[in-house]
């Protein structure tokens, strides 16, 4: 079964070290990842992220490769949504830093059960939607 995921790539006019600091220092994480972030950034470290709209996620860090990669998984505290994994990959470019974010849905037993019931539609549909979301992004970018 294909994975349901989104990716975003941004080029930032800042050094890899500055971006990495923003991704790992508790005080700086609260400036962008959520409105309030308490996260112990080391493998196995846990934390809570409160978004500006009040959504609360619990998180656990999976991988920490300084100035290269941060991977974690998180899930809404109230169980209102599925668990997903987040990968943040950093790459130094000539002008600054490229950040690639990938968030992937973790299929739960019930989700895969209902997906099996219409596996063909699902597989085909998701593949097409990934393409569709790229087109939607392109449309938005053109505005």
């Amino acid at each position: 079964m294909p994975e349901t995921r989104i990716t975003r790539t941004v080029e930032l006019d800042a050094s890899v070290d500055d971006v990495w600091r923003a991704m790992t220092e508790p005080d700086l994480l609260g400036d962008w990842l959520g409105a309030l972030v308490e996260l112990d950034v080391r493998p196995g470290g846990e934390g809570v992220i409160v978004e500006p709209d009040g959504a609360v996620r619990r998180a656990r860090i999976d991988e920490v490769e300084p100035a290269r990669r941060l991977a974690l998984h998180w899930w809404p505290e109230d169980g209102s949504g599925p668990e997903s994994t987040v990968e943040l990959d950093l790459e130094e470019t000539g002008e600054g830093t490229r950040v690639v974010v990938t968030e992937t849905l973790v299929e739960t037993a019930s989700a895969s059960g209902s997906a099996r019931a219409s596996a063909a539609t699902y597989r085909w549909g998701v593949r097409f939607l990934l393409l569709g979301c790229c087109l939607l992004r392109a449309t938005v970018a053109c505005r």
């Binding site: 349901t4 930032l12 978004e51 989700a111 219409s118 569709g132």
Partner: protein, 107 residues
Amino acid sequence: MTGDALDAVFSALADPTRRGLVSRLVREGPHTATDLARDLPMTRQAVVHHLQALGDAGLVDAEREGREVRYRATPEPLAEAVAWMLDAGARWDRRLQRLRDRVEAGR
């Protein structure tokens, strides 16, 4: 799903208001058009029009309950995957904009 059906899905989701309506119905469960219009800068009539487009695309179902019509996201994995991707993508767009503002400040 035929090519026409997919065209309907994409044209329905090309509109940000409709993307928002699908996300909300998946997140919060069924709503009437009146409920949905309350939080949007548009008339109930306009919301119904958007919901019909989403209905034509197979993303939303209308159910009559007495005198009310309630709309719900179709409980297909497809609709759930769409809603999740729209929501997760929008959240990352906002986070990455804040990250940019943070790390590029003062440059």
